[in-house]
Protein backbone atom coordinates (compact mmCIF):
# COMPACT_ATOMS: atom_id res chain seq x y z
CA UNK A 1 0.00 0.00 0.00
CA UNK A 2 1.42 3.34 -1.01
CA UNK A 3 1.59 6.19 1.43
CA UNK A 4 1.69 9.78 0.27
CA UNK A 5 3.22 12.69 2.08
CA UNK A 6 4.26 16.27 1.38
CA UNK A 7 6.95 16.43 -1.23
CA UNK A 8 10.48 17.45 -1.80
CA UNK A 9 11.86 20.25 0.37
CA UNK A 10 13.12 21.96 -2.80
CA UNK A 11 9.58 22.51 -4.10
CA UNK A 12 7.82 25.90 -3.87
CA UNK A 13 4.22 26.56 -4.88
CA UNK A 14 2.55 29.74 -6.04
CA UNK A 15 -1.22 29.44 -5.94
CA UNK A 16 -2.89 31.59 -8.56
CA UNK A 17 -6.37 30.15 -8.80
CA UNK A 18 -7.41 28.21 -10.78
CA UNK A 19 -3.83 27.21 -11.59
CA UNK A 20 -0.63 26.82 -9.66
CA UNK A 21 3.01 27.44 -10.49
CA UNK A 22 5.48 24.99 -9.02
CA UNK A 23 9.22 25.64 -8.74
CA UNK A 24 11.88 23.01 -8.14
CA UNK A 25 14.79 24.95 -6.72
CA UNK A 26 17.21 22.02 -7.09
CA UNK A 27 16.56 21.35 -10.76
CA UNK A 28 15.63 25.01 -11.34
CA UNK A 29 12.49 24.04 -13.26
CA UNK A 30 9.20 25.94 -13.28
CA UNK A 31 5.94 24.10 -14.00
CA UNK A 32 2.44 25.44 -14.63
CA UNK A 33 -0.31 23.13 -13.42
CA UNK A 34 -3.94 23.64 -14.47
CA UNK A 35 -6.96 23.77 -12.22
CA UNK A 36 -7.64 20.17 -11.18
CA UNK A 37 -4.19 20.03 -9.59
CA UNK A 38 -4.57 23.08 -7.36
CA UNK A 39 -7.81 22.01 -5.72
CA UNK A 40 -6.72 18.41 -5.32
CA UNK A 41 -3.30 19.38 -3.97
CA UNK A 42 -4.80 21.86 -1.49
CA UNK A 43 -7.18 19.22 -0.11
CA UNK A 44 -4.42 16.63 0.12
CA UNK A 45 -2.00 18.91 1.93
CA UNK A 46 -4.69 20.08 4.37
CA UNK A 47 -5.51 16.49 5.19
CA UNK A 48 -1.88 15.38 5.56
CA UNK A 49 -1.29 18.28 7.96
CA UNK A 50 -4.40 17.48 9.98
CA UNK A 51 -3.45 13.79 10.09
CA UNK A 52 0.16 14.62 10.98
CA UNK A 53 1.06 11.51 8.99
CA UNK A 54 1.13 10.31 5.39
CA UNK A 55 -2.14 9.28 3.76
CA UNK A 56 -2.65 5.89 2.16
CA UNK A 57 -4.04 5.65 -1.35
CA UNK A 58 -7.31 4.24 0.08
CA UNK A 59 -7.63 7.18 2.46
CA UNK A 60 -7.21 9.53 -0.49
CA UNK A 61 -9.91 7.68 -2.43
CA UNK A 62 -12.20 8.16 0.56
CA UNK A 63 -11.29 11.83 0.80
CA UNK A 64 -12.11 12.35 -2.86
CA UNK A 65 -15.26 10.24 -2.75
CA UNK A 66 -13.92 7.85 -5.40
CA UNK A 67 -16.26 4.90 -5.69
CA UNK A 68 -15.83 4.01 -9.38
CA UNK A 69 -12.83 2.55 -11.19
CA UNK A 70 -12.77 5.56 -13.44
CA UNK A 71 -12.62 8.07 -10.59
CA UNK A 72 -9.95 6.04 -8.81
CA UNK A 73 -7.84 5.93 -11.96
CA UNK A 74 -8.18 9.69 -12.37
CA UNK A 75 -7.08 10.22 -8.77
CA UNK A 76 -4.09 7.89 -9.17
CA UNK A 77 -3.02 9.83 -12.30
CA UNK A 78 -3.23 13.10 -10.41
CA UNK A 79 -1.14 11.59 -7.61
CA UNK A 80 1.47 10.35 -10.07
CA UNK A 81 1.72 13.74 -11.80
CA UNK A 82 2.13 15.55 -8.50
CA UNK A 83 4.71 12.99 -7.46
CA UNK A 84 6.66 13.37 -10.73
CA UNK A 85 7.04 17.07 -10.08
CA UNK A 86 7.99 16.47 -6.44
CA UNK A 87 4.95 18.14 -4.89
CA UNK A 88 4.14 14.96 -3.00
CA UNK A 89 6.25 11.94 -2.23
CA UNK A 90 5.15 8.34 -2.46
CA UNK A 91 6.39 6.03 0.28
CA UNK A 92 6.12 2.27 -0.13
Amino acid sequence: MQHWTKGDVNICVYECEPEMVVYDSYLKKTHLLPSPYLDFYSRLVKCIKENSSPLTTDEIFELEGCNTTESKEKTVNLLKSLSDIGLITSLK
Binding site: C16, E19, V21, L32
Partner: protein, 290 residues
Protein backbone atom coordinates in the same frame (compact mmCIF):
# COMPACT_ATOMS: atom_id res chain seq x y z
CA UNK B 1 36.83 60.42 -35.07
CA UNK B 2 38.64 62.81 -32.77
CA UNK B 3 42.42 62.70 -32.51
CA UNK B 4 42.30 62.24 -28.78
CA UNK B 5 39.75 60.40 -26.66
CA UNK B 6 37.45 62.34 -24.40
CA UNK B 7 36.27 61.17 -21.01
CA UNK B 8 32.72 61.92 -19.88
CA UNK B 9 30.96 61.03 -16.66
CA UNK B 10 27.19 60.84 -16.99
CA UNK B 11 24.11 59.25 -15.48
CA UNK B 12 22.52 56.56 -17.67
CA UNK B 13 19.28 55.60 -15.92
CA UNK B 14 20.16 54.75 -12.34
CA UNK B 15 23.83 54.02 -13.02
CA UNK B 16 26.85 56.29 -13.24
CA UNK B 17 28.98 55.79 -16.32
CA UNK B 18 32.53 56.83 -17.12
CA UNK B 19 32.84 56.80 -20.88
CA UNK B 20 36.04 57.22 -22.87
CA UNK B 21 35.68 57.65 -26.61
CA UNK B 22 37.15 59.38 -29.63
CA UNK B 23 34.10 58.65 -31.78
CA UNK B 24 32.28 61.92 -32.44
CA UNK B 25 28.87 60.36 -33.13
CA UNK B 26 28.88 58.90 -29.63
CA UNK B 27 29.73 62.26 -28.06
CA UNK B 28 27.01 63.94 -30.12
CA UNK B 29 24.51 61.25 -29.14
CA UNK B 30 25.23 61.82 -25.46
CA UNK B 31 24.89 65.59 -25.77
CA UNK B 32 21.55 65.12 -27.52
CA UNK B 33 19.99 62.27 -25.57
CA UNK B 34 21.50 62.70 -22.10
CA UNK B 35 21.28 66.51 -21.97
CA UNK B 36 21.00 66.91 -18.21
CA UNK B 37 22.89 63.84 -17.19
CA UNK B 38 26.49 64.96 -16.89
CA UNK B 39 27.90 64.34 -13.41
CA UNK B 40 30.99 65.62 -11.67
CA UNK B 41 34.32 63.79 -11.47
CA UNK B 42 33.69 63.26 -7.77
CA UNK B 43 30.67 61.00 -8.32
CA UNK B 44 31.24 57.28 -7.89
CA UNK B 45 31.20 55.36 -11.14
CA UNK B 46 29.40 52.03 -11.63
CA UNK B 47 30.56 51.12 -15.13
CA UNK B 48 33.75 52.11 -16.96
CA UNK B 49 33.18 51.95 -20.70
CA UNK B 50 35.21 52.67 -23.79
CA UNK B 51 33.92 52.91 -27.35
CA UNK B 52 37.01 52.72 -29.46
CA UNK B 53 38.03 52.05 -33.01
CA UNK B 54 39.29 48.57 -33.80
CA UNK B 55 43.06 48.86 -34.32
CA UNK B 56 45.10 47.70 -37.27
CA UNK B 57 43.87 47.48 -40.81
CA UNK B 58 40.27 47.92 -39.70
CA UNK B 59 41.10 51.47 -38.69
CA UNK B 60 41.29 52.38 -42.36
CA UNK B 61 39.21 49.87 -44.34
CA UNK B 62 35.49 49.82 -43.39
CA UNK B 63 36.32 51.10 -39.87
CA UNK B 64 34.72 49.38 -36.93
CA UNK B 65 34.31 50.20 -33.26
CA UNK B 66 34.20 47.98 -30.21
CA UNK B 67 32.50 48.25 -26.82
CA UNK B 68 34.94 47.78 -23.95
CA UNK B 69 33.67 47.16 -20.41
CA UNK B 70 36.44 47.42 -17.82
CA UNK B 71 38.98 46.10 -20.32
CA UNK B 72 36.65 43.27 -21.44
CA UNK B 73 35.25 43.19 -24.98
CA UNK B 74 31.94 41.30 -24.79
CA UNK B 75 30.73 41.79 -28.39
CA UNK B 76 31.98 41.56 -31.93
CA UNK B 77 32.87 45.00 -33.32
CA UNK B 78 30.35 46.95 -35.42
CA UNK B 79 30.71 49.47 -38.27
CA UNK B 80 31.61 52.92 -36.96
CA UNK B 81 28.27 54.48 -37.91
CA UNK B 82 26.59 52.13 -35.41
CA UNK B 83 28.73 53.45 -32.54
CA UNK B 84 25.92 55.19 -30.63
CA UNK B 85 23.48 52.21 -30.86
CA UNK B 86 26.43 50.02 -29.76
CA UNK B 87 26.78 52.18 -26.66
CA UNK B 88 23.06 51.81 -25.89
CA UNK B 89 23.08 48.04 -26.46
CA UNK B 90 26.24 47.80 -24.37
CA UNK B 91 24.66 49.74 -21.51
CA UNK B 92 21.71 47.32 -21.61
CA UNK B 93 24.17 44.43 -21.46
CA UNK B 94 25.91 45.97 -18.42
CA UNK B 95 22.61 46.04 -16.54
CA UNK B 96 21.15 42.72 -17.67
CA UNK B 97 24.40 40.83 -17.03
CA UNK B 98 25.32 42.24 -13.63
CA UNK B 99 22.44 43.78 -11.70
CA UNK B 100 21.22 40.76 -9.75
CA UNK B 101 19.87 42.93 -6.95
CA UNK B 102 16.89 43.03 -9.35
CA UNK B 103 14.92 40.45 -11.28
CA UNK B 104 15.46 41.80 -14.80
CA UNK B 105 12.71 41.22 -17.34
CA UNK B 106 12.94 42.04 -21.03
CA UNK B 107 9.94 44.35 -21.02
CA UNK B 108 8.97 47.99 -21.22
CA UNK B 109 7.68 49.54 -18.01
CA UNK B 110 5.87 52.86 -17.56
CA UNK B 111 4.30 54.56 -14.56
CA UNK B 112 1.53 57.05 -13.99
CA UNK B 113 -0.08 58.14 -10.70
CA UNK B 114 1.70 55.48 -8.72
CA UNK B 115 0.75 52.55 -10.97
CA UNK B 116 3.17 50.75 -13.25
CA UNK B 117 2.39 48.70 -16.35
CA UNK B 118 4.80 46.16 -17.77
CA UNK B 119 4.80 45.19 -21.44
CA UNK B 120 6.97 42.22 -22.29
CA UNK B 121 7.25 41.50 -25.94
CA UNK B 122 9.11 39.68 -28.59
CA UNK B 123 10.48 41.85 -31.35
CA UNK B 124 7.64 42.90 -33.60
CA UNK B 125 5.07 42.93 -30.80
CA UNK B 126 4.91 46.70 -31.01
CA UNK B 127 5.94 47.26 -27.39
CA UNK B 128 8.63 49.86 -28.14
CA UNK B 129 6.33 51.96 -30.32
CA UNK B 130 3.57 51.77 -27.71
CA UNK B 131 6.07 52.61 -24.97
CA UNK B 132 7.25 55.70 -26.86
CA UNK B 133 3.66 56.77 -27.55
CA UNK B 134 2.58 56.32 -23.92
CA UNK B 135 5.50 58.43 -22.77
CA UNK B 136 4.26 61.21 -25.04
CA UNK B 137 0.87 61.08 -23.36
CA UNK B 138 1.90 61.68 -19.78
CA UNK B 139 3.39 58.30 -18.80
CA UNK B 140 6.77 58.16 -17.13
CA UNK B 141 9.21 55.70 -18.69
CA UNK B 142 10.88 53.49 -16.13
CA UNK B 143 12.53 51.66 -19.03
CA UNK B 144 11.81 50.74 -22.63
CA UNK B 145 13.76 47.47 -22.45
CA UNK B 146 14.70 46.35 -18.94
CA UNK B 147 12.13 46.09 -16.16
CA UNK B 148 13.98 46.05 -12.84
CA UNK B 149 12.14 44.44 -9.93
CA UNK B 150 13.55 44.53 -6.43
CA UNK B 151 13.82 40.95 -5.17
CA UNK B 152 12.89 41.77 -1.58
CA UNK B 153 9.79 43.88 -2.22
CA UNK B 154 8.54 42.96 -5.70
CA UNK B 155 8.45 46.69 -6.55
CA UNK B 156 9.78 48.09 -9.82
CA UNK B 157 12.53 50.71 -9.93
CA UNK B 158 13.16 53.29 -12.64
CA UNK B 159 16.07 53.11 -15.08
CA UNK B 160 15.03 55.56 -17.81
CA UNK B 161 17.19 55.86 -20.91
CA UNK B 162 16.64 56.88 -24.53
CA UNK B 163 13.89 54.84 -26.18
CA UNK B 164 15.14 52.55 -28.94
CA UNK B 165 12.91 52.48 -32.04
CA UNK B 166 13.31 50.53 -35.26
CA UNK B 167 12.32 50.77 -38.89
CA UNK B 168 8.76 52.07 -39.40
CA UNK B 169 8.29 52.86 -35.71
CA UNK B 170 10.65 55.79 -36.08
CA UNK B 171 8.44 57.56 -38.62
CA UNK B 172 5.28 56.53 -36.82
CA UNK B 173 6.39 58.26 -33.62
CA UNK B 174 7.69 61.27 -35.53
CA UNK B 175 4.20 61.66 -37.04
CA UNK B 176 2.48 60.94 -33.71
CA UNK B 177 4.17 63.84 -31.98
CA UNK B 178 6.10 66.72 -33.48
CA UNK B 179 9.15 68.22 -31.81
CA UNK B 180 10.38 64.98 -30.32
CA UNK B 181 14.17 64.79 -30.14
CA UNK B 182 15.67 61.85 -32.02
CA UNK B 183 19.20 60.72 -32.73
CA UNK B 184 20.14 60.24 -36.36
CA UNK B 185 18.75 57.05 -37.81
CA UNK B 186 21.41 54.39 -38.32
CA UNK B 187 20.72 51.92 -41.09
CA UNK B 188 21.73 48.31 -41.78
CA UNK B 189 22.09 47.24 -38.18
CA UNK B 190 21.21 43.72 -37.05
CA UNK B 191 17.78 45.11 -36.16
CA UNK B 192 17.35 47.14 -39.34
CA UNK B 193 17.19 50.94 -39.06
CA UNK B 194 17.52 52.19 -35.51
CA UNK B 195 17.07 55.56 -33.82
CA UNK B 196 16.86 56.65 -30.20
CA UNK B 197 14.30 59.05 -28.77
CA UNK B 198 14.91 61.43 -25.89
CA UNK B 199 12.56 60.44 -23.03
CA UNK B 200 10.30 63.16 -21.60
CA UNK B 201 11.46 65.27 -18.65
CA UNK B 202 9.05 63.49 -16.30
CA UNK B 203 10.96 60.30 -16.94
CA UNK B 204 14.41 61.67 -16.32
CA UNK B 205 13.62 64.09 -13.49
CA UNK B 206 12.88 61.60 -10.80
CA UNK B 207 14.06 60.30 -7.52
CA UNK B 208 15.87 57.01 -8.18
CA UNK B 209 14.56 55.36 -5.06
CA UNK B 210 10.95 56.00 -5.96
CA UNK B 211 9.60 52.59 -6.74
CA UNK B 212 6.21 51.57 -8.06
CA UNK B 213 3.89 48.63 -7.67
CA UNK B 214 3.18 46.82 -10.94
CA UNK B 215 -0.56 46.94 -11.51
CA UNK B 216 -0.81 45.48 -15.04
CA UNK B 217 1.18 43.09 -17.16
CA UNK B 218 0.14 43.46 -20.79
CA UNK B 219 1.37 41.33 -23.69
CA UNK B 220 0.85 43.49 -26.78
CA UNK B 221 0.34 41.80 -30.13
CA UNK B 222 0.52 44.16 -33.06
CA UNK B 223 -1.24 42.93 -36.16
CA UNK B 224 -1.94 45.37 -38.96
CA UNK B 225 -4.78 43.19 -40.18
CA UNK B 226 -6.38 42.88 -36.73
CA UNK B 227 -10.11 43.46 -36.83
CA UNK B 228 -10.62 43.77 -33.07
CA UNK B 229 -8.65 46.12 -30.90
CA UNK B 230 -9.09 44.60 -27.48
CA UNK B 231 -7.52 43.58 -24.18
CA UNK B 232 -8.39 40.16 -22.80
CA UNK B 233 -7.52 38.95 -19.32
CA UNK B 234 -5.13 36.00 -19.20
CA UNK B 235 -4.21 33.76 -16.28
CA UNK B 236 -1.56 34.71 -13.74
CA UNK B 237 -0.13 31.22 -14.11
CA UNK B 238 0.61 31.55 -17.83
CA UNK B 239 1.88 35.12 -17.26
CA UNK B 240 4.22 33.82 -14.56
CA UNK B 241 5.85 31.41 -16.98
CA UNK B 242 6.10 33.98 -19.78
CA UNK B 243 7.72 36.53 -17.46
CA UNK B 244 10.20 33.89 -16.26
CA UNK B 245 11.04 33.03 -19.88
CA UNK B 246 11.54 36.72 -20.67
CA UNK B 247 13.85 37.30 -17.69
CA UNK B 248 17.59 37.68 -18.10
CA UNK B 249 18.49 36.37 -14.66
CA UNK B 250 15.65 34.12 -13.45
CA UNK B 251 18.08 31.16 -13.54
CA UNK B 252 20.72 33.06 -11.54
CA UNK B 253 18.25 34.15 -8.87
CA UNK B 254 16.68 30.69 -8.54
CA UNK B 255 14.11 30.60 -5.74
CA UNK B 256 14.47 34.34 -5.21
CA UNK B 257 13.35 34.89 -8.82
CA UNK B 258 10.33 32.67 -8.20
CA UNK B 259 9.30 34.52 -5.03
CA UNK B 260 9.82 37.90 -6.73
CA UNK B 261 7.46 37.01 -9.57
CA UNK B 262 4.97 35.68 -7.00
CA UNK B 263 5.02 39.06 -5.21
CA UNK B 264 4.51 40.91 -8.52
CA UNK B 265 1.61 38.75 -9.60
CA UNK B 266 -0.12 38.96 -6.23
CA UNK B 267 -0.89 42.58 -7.11
CA UNK B 268 -0.91 42.68 -10.91
CA UNK B 269 -3.64 41.88 -13.38
CA UNK B 270 -2.60 40.19 -16.62
CA UNK B 271 -3.77 40.81 -20.17
CA UNK B 272 -3.19 40.07 -23.82
CA UNK B 273 -3.73 43.02 -26.12
CA UNK B 274 -4.48 42.84 -29.82
CA UNK B 275 -4.29 46.04 -31.78
CA UNK B 276 -3.92 47.18 -35.34
CA UNK B 277 -1.24 49.77 -34.69
CA UNK B 278 -3.47 52.78 -34.10
CA UNK B 279 -1.53 54.37 -31.25
CA UNK B 280 -4.36 56.41 -29.73
CA UNK B 281 -6.43 53.24 -29.56
CA UNK B 282 -3.47 51.33 -28.15
CA UNK B 283 -2.99 53.89 -25.39
CA UNK B 284 -6.69 53.75 -24.56
CA UNK B 285 -6.56 49.96 -24.30
CA UNK B 286 -3.49 50.06 -22.04
CA UNK B 287 -5.08 52.64 -19.77
CA UNK B 288 -8.29 50.64 -19.58
CA UNK B 289 -6.46 47.93 -17.63
CA UNK B 290 -6.05 50.21 -14.61
Amino acid sequence: MLRKSKKINFRAGRFNINLTTCVSSVLKGIDLLYPHSKISQKEIIDFHINIKPVPGIRHYIKPQVEFVFNSIIPFHPLPIDQAFPLLEWGLNWCVSTHCHQFLIIHAAILEKNGSAIVMPGLPGSGKSTLCAALSLRGWRIFSDELTLIDTTTGLAYPNPRPVSLKNQSIDIIKSFEKNVVFSETVHDTLKGSVAHMLPNKQSTNFYYEQSSEIKSVIFPKYDREATNNEVNPISKGSTFLKLAENSFNYEVLGKEGFTTLSKVLDNAKCYEMHYDGCLEKGIELVESTL
